[in-house]
Assembly symmetry: C2
Homo-oligomer: 418 residues x 2
């Protein structure tokens, strides 16, 4: 596929994240009222307005008036395809709808972005093999870094949906219980090893009741976002045995404001790697279910230039989101519109491909040097982190925009907690 031409001129370049090939969905406001929109070049088309005036009609009635995408997600794949068709036709160069649509373009520079959907529940996986090996080596035993179940199970745990925020939301460093290996007792203090996790998030559009196959799971997915699962490594190290991470992962999870649909990503499907161990039949993929998406992480100290601290690709995952979602339903667990699945941290083979500072600085033993000359083992207050991602086509890209957040100092510990 090559670049599709739009009458929105800014969409017709190889640099924009949002050509006509993409058409990602988000929620924006100019006056405080959240509206559904689609990104095209450096503009947003106001779909709430278009639907209200009848220039856009969807089976099942008004689906774009609630200020989140959940109504469209619930409506299912036929509606998803119909909406994309109408938008792609209306935004194509020479389209008859140009005048009607152009009246509802808003510059991206002039809007505030909001959460694109209401998160039902949030599950985070651990499906990056390099990440699992790196973390296993540091937290447990380098000789047996990969847990015994890892090659058989897409390991996941339930996260906290109330902590999911949209890109641009500041992230307050957490307090928590900390205990060094030589401390007799823990203390309650600010996290000193605050970290990012570079992930992709898959959004469940269609619900399920009972076990689904990998193909059915893929069909249920509405689209993908960039996802940063902020992590307090020192809180995690002390709390996570035996029942997994809890408060270490409950401060914030940031997502990109744009949901890139499965349809836009179709040309970029790729396969998960060959299995080292026979895989249980239920996890077999009927076709390629991962995506070739270049990813990078930028870190800008307070008011200074950004350094790119990691580059990797979503194709590093060992399990696809479809496999994860299928596994999620094995026990009979119902899935719902708005469930969000984090892929797990995406780390490549080399040091510069690692998707967390824990790995990049090897637990703080090998601090990074930034372009500013400063060093970092973990995040400092004032640091702004930005994830970026794009699938690269022939003369075009399908991008996610930015997933960014600035670290603010921890709250003062209240007197009653001292």
């Amino acid at each position: 596929m090559t670049l599709l031409k739009s009458w929105v001129e800014s969409a017709n370049t190889s640099e924009t994240d949002f050509p006509l090939n993409n058409l990602p969905y988000g929620v924006f406001s100019t006056d405080g009222t959240a509206r559904c929109g689609v990104a095209i070049g450096d503009q947003i088309l106001d779909l709430t307005a278009l639907e209200a005036e009848g220039a856009l009609t969807l089976e099942g009635g008004a689906l774009l008036q609630s200020g989140v995408w959940n109504d469209v997600m619930s409506a299912g794949p036929i509606v998803w395809a119909a909406l994309r068709d109408q938008l792609q036709q209306g935004l194509t160069a020479g389209a008859a709808q140009e005048a009607a649509f152009a009246a509802h373009l808003v510059a991206q520079a002039d809007v505030t972005m909001h959460m694109p959907f209401t998160v039902a529940e949030y599950t985070d996986f651990y499906a990056g093999k390099n990440h699992a090996i790196n973390v296993g080596s540091m937290f447990r035993d380098p000789a047996n870094a990969l847990p015994p179940n890892w090659l058989s199970i897409p390991i996941g745990y339930n996260g906290r949906a109330s902590s999911v925020v949209v890109s641009g939301t500041d992230v307050v460093r957490p307090n928590g219980q900390l205990k060094g290996p030589n401390d007799e007792l823990p203390r309650f203090a600010a996290c000193a090893r605050f970290d990012l996790e570079l992930e992709m998030g898959a959004i469940v559009g269609q619900p399920s009741d009972g076990m689904v196959s990998v193909q059915q799971a893929d069909d249920m997915i509405f689209g993908y976002v960039l996802l940063n699962d902020w992590s307090a490594r020192d809180i995690q190290a002390w709390e996570y045995q035996p029942l997994g991470p809890f408060q270490a992962k409950a401060t914030a999870t940031s997502i990109s404001p744009w949901i890139v649909t499965k349809a836009a990503l179709e040309p970029f499907r790729t396969s998960t790697p060959e299995r080292e161990r026979p895989q249980l039949a239920y996890l077999t993929e009927p076709g390629p279910m991962l995506y070739d998406i270049d990813l990078e992480v930028g870190l800008a100290p307070d008011g200074q230039n950004e350094s790119i601290i990691a580059r990797t690709n979503y194709n590093e995952m060992y399990y696809s989101a479809a496999q994860q979602l299928c596994h999620h339903t094995t026990s009979g667990c119902s899935m719902r519109t708005g469930d969000l699945l984090g892929s797990g941290t995406i780390s490549g083979a080399e040091k510069e491909n690692r998707g967390s500072m824990l790995e990049l600085s090897w637990g703080g033993k090998e601090p990074m040097t930034l372009a500013t000359g400063e060093t970092r083992s973990f995040l400092e207050d004032g640091d702004t982190l930005t994830l970026r991602g794009a699938a690269k086509g022939d003369g075009y890209r399908v991008g996610f925009g930015e997933c960014t957040g600035t670290v603010l100092p921890a709250p003062a510990v209240p007197d009653w907690a001292k």
Copy 2:
């Protein structure tokens, strides 16, 4: 306190779970429409009807018309107290409201009960010391059964809200990945070690943003339910390292249909046990925050008589729900109306006080003999499990009704999963 007399005669006995002292909230239907009600003796007072005709008025408008209790929960403690006052006055023997209220009584025997509230998110804790020691001895190392952090942290993990069901809902045995200690590879098959967990659930009524104290946490709690966290022990054993239980806990969590309010439980407050290790200041309780509630578990094989397989008390917990909720907010995690916190399995000191079959049969090594003569290590298809609980006053009890569920056979493994 002694028994308060009502004009509803069935409420004036020492045997009923629902005297005027209690007034628990639930959701029922007679014709398919879910309505909010309060239990009194063997009757339910239809509060949705009373509010609709103006015989009951609450600050903030119609709060009892949505078929769940979330609107009342959101309205806060002043409304909670005002509602209880109106109900207690109107149901007291000799009340002027008798005729108006009596027109809206429905026999409990004639209704279907529904989920009393919409669960926002579900967190399960691990705060019973005997349970933690028993499980640690079986799954890990008997010499170091209690994890190093256990005496400092109310250990918890996020569960799956979509799996929470009301008492009376059948529970389908899950399939999942199973691997015996001597198997080379896992297989996908029906769980063979399906279990209960006897717990109490605390319901968050008021939201929070940022860390709260134990007292603030207690103030946020709307009430309590009985809770059975159905658990697949064989799935759990293979999946839970390193990130905690996932599909083993995602089949179902049953709750009692009646929410017993904090106000009804006030006379039964009791303290958590003395700490063996200095406790961090933030977890200090300003007063007694546990409750003295007798609990029991009955098991009835398909169509046969029930045996009581365990008796214990909520006062066996090491951490109160208020402490757990406080800890839940330490990282800045927002809590929401409708969050449900499971206490963790409640096991007493003796074998007959253990709140799970894993403990009662010591991992299957010591099967129980039921009154029917059958033996059990774990649950069999057709078994009906029933949790019961009541705080005991002077000539009255504040009970929760029953939390029950019948185990149905696992779904056939689909061909594509074989």
